[in-house]
């Protein structure tokens, strides 16, 4: 249920953030220096762009998130009706969580969260 107070708050927050940006924009000094045209890379000209095919590790985490967060949503619903669902619900959910853990175990074994060497030096 969306109350008036929430709407007032929401509008106030939006106005506040926009005002902050606007005020700083109006007050800002304009300088057009050569160094402003390059992204920061430790004070030196960059080589290559950020538009590259990225390592898949990060996306594996994102996919795992999608999987587990979706499953978690089912658990959210269960957690509000634990008493109503009773022991039967508990057993079903236990099985569900067990399946989830197997999935997690599988991912771990597949090396989804393997980010390369853990230790090392000169071979």
């Amino acid at each position: 249920m969306i109350s008036t107070s929430f709407l007032v708050y929401l509008i106030a927050v939006l106005l506040l953030t926009m005002t902050m940006l606007l005020v700083s924009h109006l007050l800002n000094p304009k300088t057009g220096k050569r160094v402003n045209k390059l992204p920061y890379e430790s004070g030196i000209v960059p080589s290559g762009t950020t538009d590259i095919r990225w390592n898949v590790n990060y996306f594996l985490v994102a996919i795992s998130f999608v999987i587990f967060d979706l499953e978690a949503v089912f658990l959210y619903i269960w957690s509000i009706v634990v008493m109503e669902a009773g022991w039967q619900g508990f057993i079903i959910t236990s099985f569900f969580i067990f399946a989830l853990l197997i999935g997690l175990f599988y991912e771990v074994r597949q090396g989804a969260f393997d980010w390369g060497k853990k230790q090392g030096g000169i071979e």
């Binding site: 290559g48 950020t50 590259i52 990225w54 390592n55 980010w115 230790q119 090392g120 030096g121 000169i122």
Partner: protein
């Protein structure tokens, strides 16, 4: 009988007994022995015999495993040139055998019309940077070097500055200006081009990102760049890029008086303070044959150990900070301040006292110095115990540093690693024990060792070294000998003045010494000390004038940085930061 033979042969025979294999390889006409003030076996060999000689020395039963130093000399204006078998340029190779505890120096003479010599990068990986430096500064070409390009100077630089014809003073050249276009050109020249270093831009599955870590980055400790080839956050390969902090100290040494160069040495390892004066004045004292009093020796040891602690404190704090622990650095700064207070009371300056003199120290110790020192030596060990719990026993820090950047003794020797980095691999090589100078043999202390050779071990060794330094300082305080703070020797600078009011000879000598500077006898010497970050040595060549003919500063950090790429290979950016932090370097020390 040794006494009846000329000195040159006696040196040779002496070493021939130790190195029979070497003299079996070299026939009599292929080498000449040079006598140096430091009694290191110095052989002039021909360019052709160099490689076989070096590989023999490296493969001996007790090998000369470390390429300690490699540098060039421009011999063309040398006054005592005719007494040596030199041509226009010389390349000097200095090797160290840890097992034998012995140095050997090989020299190759080169003609100015044919400045070519074979690269030894196949024998020693750390020859890479030394040869680049030599090419950069002298224009000597090393055939077969994989990447022979500028290292200390910018890629756009013209000329080879350590050649004698290169002007030493800014007033000998047009004023330096830089406009927008020139700046843009210089910047462009610094752009990292992966192909130049033989790096692929992509693998089968994804593209590599090339990231400049430095020269202006929070955790590279100065102006230092590591160009990274990244796969995600994993470091595939890296190229350290140095030279942003190059001041031309070795060139400056050729213009300053012997005495006038002392302040410059302070700024080589700017955390080392008087520890930098140490090898310089010891080398000159060896050259001039000055014998200093026990008091001077003891004062020097005490002050150097103070600076060892100061440097290690900063290392310890920044190491923790780079791993993400914010607080220890502040506590250590407070403690450093206490010790700097003592340094200031004694020398009048804090970080760069320039306090050692040729033949002594600048002043005698002030009244009450021992009380201050005692207070600190009582206070600091307790604090250090606390910091050790805070940092070294922290489980996250352990996880971040144990097993990271690991190498063993052989690899360390191969790469020219000295100091705590070498001792963390279990190699017991500390010059204070192995070649005691300035009376270190009289002190009771231990050399901390570790056998892991990783970032954690290097830190642990340094923490322990602070405790040992405190021990040495205590012994200095307890047993400070009485005596003069300067040697009574004509080359002592500035000289003792007590006779000059009575006797014209001393007055003249004093006058000349103060106005023109002292004159060092002809000769060559290398003096190495166990500095804060490893072995720091000064090789001095004097041709009998008031300035140095060639000053070579061998700094530990230069060698250490070169090892970053193999250490960081395959690890993540965060590990690279841990590795960089654990090396303990100062860019001024690297770039000189």
């Amino acid at each position: 009988m040794p006494q009846e033979q000329p000195p040159q042969d006696s040196v040779e025979n002496n070493h021939a007994e130790q190195l029979p294999e070497l003299f079996a390889l070299l026939s009599r006409d292929k080498y000449t022995v040079q006598k140096t003030a430091d009694d290191t076996l110095t052989l002039w060999v021909t360019a052709n015999t160099l490689l076989p000689t070096l590989s023999l020395l490296k493969s001996l039963r007790q090998p000369f495993a470390m390429l300690f130093d490699l540098f060039g000399v421009d011999e063309r204006l040398r006054l005592d040139k005719n007494t040596l078998p030199c041509k226009d340029f010389t390349v000097v190779y200095q090797l160290l055998s840890v097992e034998r505890n012995q140095h050997i120096r090989l020299k190759v003479a080169l003609d100015k019309d044919d400045l070519h010599i074979n690269s030894i990068t196949d024998l020693w990986p750390n020859a890479n940077w030394y040869e680049r430096e030599c090419w950069d500064l002298f224009g000597i070409v090393f055939d077969g070097h994989p990447t022979l390009r500028r290292i200390l100077l910018p890629p756009t630089f013209k000329g080879h500055p350590l050649r004698k014809e290169f002007p030493c003073r800014a007033t000998e050249k047009d004023p330096f200006t830089i406009d927008e276009q020139k700046l843009a050109k210089e910047q462009e020249a610094l752009r990292f081009v992966p192909e130049d270093w033989g790096m692929a831009t992509s693998s089968a599955d994804n593209d590599y990102m090339f990231l400049n870590l430095g020269p202006n980055h929070p955790s590279v400790h100065g102006v230092f760049r590591v160009a990274l080839q990244l796969d995600g956050e994993r470091v595939v390969d890296s190229v350290p890029d140095i030279g942003y902090h190059h001041r031309g100290a070795e060139k400056i040494a050729e213009r300053q008086t012997w005495h006038g160069f002392i302040p410059y040495t302070d700024r080589i390892d700017y955390l080392g303070g008087v520890m930098n004066n140490f090898p310089y004045v010891l080398a000159l004292e060896q050259l001039a044959g000055i014998e200093v009093s026990d008091r001077v020796k003891c004062i020097r040891v005490m002050m150097s150990e103070c600076f060892r602690i100061l440097s290690h404190m900063l290392f310890f704090g920044t190491f923790a900070q780079d791993v993400g622990q914010l607080s220890p650095i502040f506590y250590l700064f407070v403690d450093r301040e206490k010790l700097f207070g003592i340094i200031e009371a004694i020398t009048g300056a804090r970080m760069h006292p320039s306090w050692f003199r040729i033949g002594g120290v600048a002043q005698d110790l002030p009244k009450g110095w021992d009380k201050m020192m005692r207070e600190f030596t009582d206070y600091f060990p307790k604090r250090l115990d606390e910091y050790e719990v805070m940092v070294m026993q922290n489980s996250i820090l352990k996880k971040r540093s144990i097993g990271i950047g690991k190498y063993d003794t052989n690899q360390a020797l191969d790469w020219g690693i000295t100091g705590a980095g070498l001792r963390a691999t279990g190699c017991d090589y500390d010059l204070r024990k192995k070649k005691p100078y300035s009376g270190y043999e009289n002190y009771d202390f231990e050399v901390p060792l570790d056998d892991q050779g990783d970032a954690y071990a290097r830190t642990r060794v340094r923490v322990e070294e602070m405790r040992q330094s405190i021990r040495i300082i205590r012994q200095c305080v307890d047993n400070m000998p009485q005596g003069p703070y300067k040697a009574d020797h004509p080359s002592t600078t500035p000289p003792m003045n007590h006779q000059s009011k009575h006797d014209i000879e001393t007055l003249i000598q004093h006058f000349l010494n103060v106005s023109w500077g002292t004159v060092m006898p002809k000769g060559e010497t290398t003096f190495a000390v166990e500095a804060t970050k490893g072995i720091n040595s000064y090789t001095m060549i004097s041709d009998g004038t008031g300035t140095s003919y060639r000053t070579r500063i061998r700094t530990p950090s230069f060698a250490h940085l070169q090892m970053i790429p193999p250490m960081a290979k395959g690890l993540m950016i965060a590990d690279l930061i841990t590795i960089i932090a654990s090396i303990d370097f100062v860019m001024a020390d690297v770039d000189r």
